[in-house]
Symmetry: C2
Subunit: 458 residues, 2 copies
């Protein structure tokens, strides 16, 4: 399918060479990190300003063309795939830090900026943007999927760290939501509505983000457990004790084996917790001591501290590359990365049942996650083209999702719905999913924005 | 205006004696805490279950009757007044703690429960619900206005502490939003949309709240400053230093005078900060020491510590009753309580300009607020029936709101829009206000829910 020629003329008049039509460009924007088949758009637009995005959207609205936003393409449920063709808007040219206000601890940024680029820019200010999904995602994309990651247990998710947005609506109107004030009761939380809306309600063209002070002292550690249950119990006890962990991550024995193979980690192949403490030197020391007591009580052992910055960096690099380490366990394989979140009290049960389910299946699936939030993943490893393995992965993923719902949790803690989790929306939300549809139709009656994602019949 | 007789018959068949029609009941639900004239409903309903609320709503929808929710009637912008008559739903009979899950740190409660009643119930669990707007408001009402108060600087607002809701929609459908899991990326944040929606999108019939551990150690203090500017500067420095204050409240000299007169506080009549620290004994001691250094540098003095629980209780009781202490400054007067929130960097400017504006006016107006969030209030004291004073208060309030917007803030940090702040919505949100209207019409096309509040033309 190609764009209608009158629409193409208008878009080219607006963007000139920044409207890409080549097969290479289209294919690059039809690929994704996971198992979904390629779905390229008809054209890729590289706008340079909010005004251009608004004009582009108005043209597409007039011609009934689908519009899909693109950040870094690192999402895991096919969010940015052009299911119905149309125009993909790549924010690569809108990736600036617009303003840093250290005294207000906020930054205004464009959506194409990555979180690592922002933190590089912030280094000298004593501030940081802590939300850390692992991938060097764009901040617009992170807002759109309500991303979180290793530090959410302390600093919250994108929901908690986006103060304000500028958004281009489906009809080309531009709105600003929120302010740089820390809180407001002035009407519906429209900012919060756009965070997590996966590009289905509007195109985010600017974000005001909440920053945090770089911690004065940081301390990280790993420790091993004889089995999964005591590790998870240590997490639950830690959260309940109110120790303000900056990170508390679980990796199972299979994940440790992947670390050992890829990163020469030299860790005992048992379940581990990876933790980090932020605060004043005295506070960090106290937190670490209290955590140590909980771990000892739960039967954990072999504490290894990463005191130096480069040791800590290596530790979290290893954790962030767990996906690639797992992939390397089965050369040539493809990963189905699952993502569920349950109430903390059901975490041990959820992880144990998942472990048993994968162990009884013919495919490997290391388990790891942000267990301080009750959030965990299995990385299901599948041979490409092997229909039986794909079917197994699909069944295991479905059982994880259903297990999460049965235990009072959610089918996605941080990856989002996209194309991959649509089948569970009815089950998780019931009539609440219809409410999402009503909001969608109110703001995008023609269904132009990211069709095929998140809401029913979109 | 009375209810149409067929609607009345149906409501009486549903509720029996729990549908009140007496003048006394109607008038009690037409009054409010502030300067708005009485606006009684035609009937007051006391449902006992979600099913009854849903049936009541369906009856009202069939007959086109307005429906307004009522908690404790403590809101400050006329939120619960029956501007177009109809049925006021008083949740007094739906005020139970349904479930406390200590291991998940959540509680399920009914909307009529007050925050103090919940905390009484929680006392033995080691947990607490920290959101504290001063008044002993209902939790349904607090969710509806996105309330916050003295502890938001540490524990967040209702936005951060409502995990899930059960809501009866305008057509009588019942939805459940969110789960007891700590985070989710499963679609639009419908929970967040209802928090702060002031009863205009649905009737909240159940809340799942996030609980926090009761702090192991607590320490509170007051200290005086020679002027307002250094007090505010000390607040800014404290926030930026990352000291995890549990409370940091500002009161101006006029408020202190009110405390001295009503509570025999014996404080120097200068601006003061009231602070509280939560944590382990060592952490609290360290926070207090660091805060002391900041205060000394800013020229603060006369630290007075409230170490014992009863001293702390007296301190916060005094702070919470500041409204009544201010009223007592001018016997027989009425208060217009304003509420703005600005970015922290503009706080000194906002407070100073407001102070000067009130000082140049003929009416008193003590200033106080949750300055760690950039949020503050003036309590403008007006003689009832004095049109000139009312006009002055209105003008001062308008100038505060416009000042907040000019400084990049919001016209309400925590009190909400109700009837009182409608005039600023266009100015604060621009086309974003239209988006709120689109959402309202999508979910309540006949405009039955709390008409006259929050959205345009409602």
């Amino acid at each position: 399918m190609a764009l209608p020629s009158d629409a193409l003329d208008e878009l080219q008049a607006l963007l000139g060479p920044r409207l890409a039509l080549s097969a290479a460009e289209r294919e690059a924007h039809g690929r994704n990190e996971t198992h979904f088949p390629p779905l390229p758009p008809d054209a890729v637009a590289y706008p340079e300003s909010t005004a251009e995005v608004a004009q582009l959207m108005a043209i597409c609205a007039r011609h009934g063309l689908p519009v899909t936003a693109w950040g870094q393409g690192s999402s895991l449920e096919g969010h940015a795939l052009a299911l119905k063709g149309g125009v993909t808007v790549d924010f690569a040219h809108m990736a600036a830090v617009l303003e840093v206000r250290p005294e207000d601890m906020v930054a205004r940024v464009q959506p194409g900026l990555t979180r690592e680029a922002l933190n590089t820019e912030l280094r000298a200010t004593g501030l940081m943007f802590p939300v850390d999904p692992g991938a060097n995602a764009s901040l617009g994309g992170m807002a759109s999927t309500r991303a979180s990651g290793t530090t959410a247990v302390r600093y919250g998710t994108m929901r908690d760290n986006v103060l304000a947005l500028e958004v281009v609506l489906a009809d080309g109107r531009v709105i600003r939501t929120g302010t740089a004030a820390r809180k407001s009761s002035a009407g519906y939380d429209v900012t919060g509505l756009f965070v997590g809306s996966e590009g289905t309600l509007g195109l985010i063209t600017e974000l005001t983000l909440r920053l945090h002070g770089q911690p004065e002292a940081v301390s990280a550690a790993v420790c091993a457990f004889p089995a999964m249950a005591p590790a998870v119990e240590a997490v639950i006890a830690t959260i309940q004790s109110g120790i303000p962990m900056a990170r508390i991550e679980f990796v199972d024995a299979a994940t440790v084996a992947a670390f050992n193979r890829r990163d020469k980690a030299g860790m005992p192949e048992e379940p581990h917790l990876l933790v980090e403490f932020h605060g004043s030197p005295a506070a960090v020391a106290e937190q670490a001591e209290r955590f140590g007591e909980i771990v000892a009580e739960a039967g954990g052992k072999g504490f290894r501290w990463a005191e130096k910055p480069e040791e800590r960096a290596a530790l979290w690099r290893m954790r962030h590359n767990a996906y690639y380490a797992c992939l390397a366990l089965k050369p040539g394989c493809q990963a189905w990365v699952t993502d569920v979140c349950v109430p903390i009290s059901r975490l041990a049960e959820a992880v144990e049942e998942t472990r048993a389910d994968i162990a009884a299946s013919p495919i490997p699936g290391p388990i790891l996650g942000h267990v301080g939030d009750g959030n965990f993943h299995a990385v299901l490893l599948v041979t490409p083209g092997d229909a039986a393995e794909a079917e197994t992965a699909k069944r295991l993923a479905a059982r994880m999702a259903e297990r999460a719902l049965r235990l009072g949790g959610t089918v996605t803690g941080e990856h989002g719905i996209g194309m991959g989790k649509l089948d569970y929306m009815e089950q998780e939300h019931g009539a609440g999913w219809d409410v999402m549809g009503q909001i969608k139709r109110a703001l995008d009656p023609s269904g132009l924005l990211n069709p095929g994602k998140l809401v029913r019949g979109n």
